[in-house]
């Protein structure tokens, strides 16, 4: 393979779809604006846009060349500005082979190549035959790993069985629960609203409304609004249900000697490989709906590695019973200490927690109540926020073990984060005037995640504990003086899932 080759022409189409997906918000806005003007019909906008994207996709396909040169993969791309990318064997971290719907129709795969640098994350060949992908994979990987690794390729694309330590699946029941309690509900609602605003003129002009009004026995406006809202929410829920179902269907977590492989997706198959030494933190998130049901999801943060948005958050396991979390973490990350003594905020911090979560909400509710003369029931929201503040207080905790830190806190969902001490990029303690008066402080740490960082924070701990955390981060290994003393007042055992 020393001649330049083009990808399969299907790449043009998949590229166009990729562009649509990447710019969905912009496109929706444009459509929204476009549909306002009468002399330029809605369908023309969509058609024109699609053709335009196809042309871009085709141009990209025409100008994208790749070849294997010994052990170097050379990619030349760019429509106007030509970019030469040389990927050498010893710099490559991970090669991922995946296939979307379009690729699968033509029996093709997509090849993603990840290097240590952040800039070349885009190195990907969109559409390539499976045979060629395997060949590139073999050439780029073979000396690195033992020759047997890609010898026997199982039915799943690119996953060999040789050094798999453990395989975990998501049971159907869990998948269904995950889908029905999915948090992408709000996003679905906003997408629906946009679509509705598009087709609303069409509907209202038709006789459908009159028809509807005629069959529904005379109702008050409030009931009509209620029904509309209910239908909306039901649709949004269905949308998020199915999108989660399709995203996390066929979920497989494969634990290997040096890396974790996550593969998922029903129509659009995705596969992510995370080398162990890239993992920066794990956090377990228990959502508002999922927590009472006893479920949680597990995420991990990885460095220099992520999705298109540049965040390094990856779903390690979409849904798991709370009581099984530690078991699973033991399987996947045996070198993380899971249970340890921790500290919670002192009881004098409770009033700060409750005040902070209820005060703004109360003010807003009061103003709205006054101006819009709302129903008295609206005051249930501030009352609920008192409870929310108490929950936040109850869930806040900080702990550290031999080489690990644990941050537990709640925004809406309860999050428990494990961070290896050597992964901490910085540690910060804050004190505002009121906290200083009460001798409290907030602590925050950053870990690397994708291109940027991710922070974990616990509010209103005893000031001395904040200092002790700094000392714990400072030292290699925890000396006796930084250990949480036996007689500490606010001691609890974390994470407390069982």
């Amino acid at each position: 393979m020393s001649e330049f080759e083009r990808q399969h022409p299907v790449a043009a189409v998949s590229r166009a779809f990729g562009l649509i997906r990447g710019n969905i918000v912009t496109i929706l806005v444009f459509l929204f604006v476009g549909a306002q003007s009468d002399n330029f019909p809605f369908l023309w906008w969509i058609g024109g846009l699609f053709i335009f994207l196809l042309i871009i996709g085709a141009a990209n396909w025409w100008r994208f060349l790749y070849k294997m040169d010994g052990d170097t993969l050379h990619i030349r791309s760019g429509i106007f500005v030509r970019k030469d990318l040389y990927l050498t064997k010893d710099r490559i971290q991970v090669i991922d082979i995946s296939s979307g719907v379009i690729q699968r129709l033509f029996g093709l795969v997509r090849l993603d190549i990840q290097t240590a640098g952040a800039t070349s994350r885009q190195a990907a060949i969109d559409a390539i035959t499976k045979v060629k992908a395997m060949e590139i994979n073999r050439v780029l990987r073979d000396i690195h790993s033992d020759p047997g690794e890609f010898g026997q390729v199982s039915e799943e694309i690119g996953i060999s069985d040789s050094d798999v330590l453990k395989k975990l699946d998501l049971p159907h029941k869990e998948l269904l629960i995950a889908a029905s309690t999915s948090g992408s509900f709000g996003i679905a609602l906003s997408v629906l609203a946009t679509i509705f605003s598009q087709i609303e003129p069409l509907i209202s002009e038709s006789e459908m409304f009159e028809y509807l009004f005629s069959i529904i026995p005379s109702q008050t406006d409030a009931v009509m609004i209620g029904i509309t809202i209910f239908i909306f929410i039901a649709f949004a829920w269905l949308l998020s249900f199915f999108s989660t179902l399709f995203t996390y269907g066929n979920f497989k977590l494969i634990v290997k000697e040096k890396e974790i492989i996550i593969s998922r997706g029903i129509f659009e198959k995705k596969r992510v490989t995370i080398p162990y030494n890239r993992i920066q933190a794990i956090h377990v998130s228990e959502g508002l709906i999922r927590q009472p049901l006893g479920y949680a999801s597990i995420h991990l943060e990885s460095a220099g590695y992520g999705d298109e948005k540049g965040t390094g958050s990856i779903v390690l396991f979409p849904l798991i019973r709370r009581t099984n979390i530690i078991q699973l973490l033991n399987d996947v990350l045996p070198d993380y200490e899971k249970e340890m003594p921790g500290i919670k905020p002192p009881s004098r911090a409770l009033r700060r927690y409750i005040f902070k979560s209820s005060f703004p909400i109360t003010i807003v509710t009061g103003v709205l109540f006054w101006y819009l003369s709302l129903n008295l029931w609206i005051w249930l929201i501030p009352i609920g926020s008192l409870f929310w503040g108490w929950l936040k207080y109850k869930d806040a905790a900080l702990a550290w073990g031999e080489d690990i830190l644990l941050f537990r806190s709640r925004q809406l969902s309860k999050s428990t984060a494990y961070i290896k001490k050597k992964r901490v990029q910085d540690a910060i303690i804050f004190q505002n005037v009121f906290q200083r008066y009460r001798n409290l402080c907030s602590v925050q740490i950053h870990v690397a995640s994708g291109d940027r960082g991710k922070s974990f924070m616990v509010d209103d701990l005893e000031y001395d504990e904040g200092i002790r955390l700094l000392n714990a981060v400072r030292k290699n290994g925890i000396s006796a003086e930084n250990r949480i003393p036996e007689e500490t007042l606010n001691k609890i055992q974390v994470p407390g899932w069982i």
Binding site: Q425, D426, F430, N432, A448, S455
Partner: protein, 159 residues
Amino acid sequence: MSKPSFHKLAPNVIKVWQWSNSISNLFFLAIPIAYAFFFGYSGLHLWFIIGSGLLVTVFWILSIAWIPFLSWKNWRYSINQKEIDLKHGILFKTRTLIPLSRVQHVDTRQGPLLRTYKLSSVTISTAATTHEIPGLDTILADRVRRQISTYARLAEDDV
């Protein structure tokens, strides 16, 4: 554990802050002006404009006459072979600890204002965040930068 030895910023940085505050906080005057533009100034609106105008002006004066001094008084930094320790903030006190093994790169920066007073700022980047020591003498800033990069190289390096 030896007590970390904290240093202060160059006193000239107060002047830099005074200048930059006097320019940047002038833009807050846009609030009453914009308000007057949208709602006119009759009756209650006038009182609001006067009130917010006064507030902005008082804040502007304080941000020149008082805040830079307090800010300087509260700024401390310390660098040793293991970590960088920064303390700052007036009402909202912040203490930041950056293990040196996490430092990815350090650079010194100098805008026109800082150059006038022969100062530089030192910027420390980790894989997640960026921190700044805002005003040191240029020579000292260079020394600090070199010191940090030497220490960082000595500290074990993995992400």
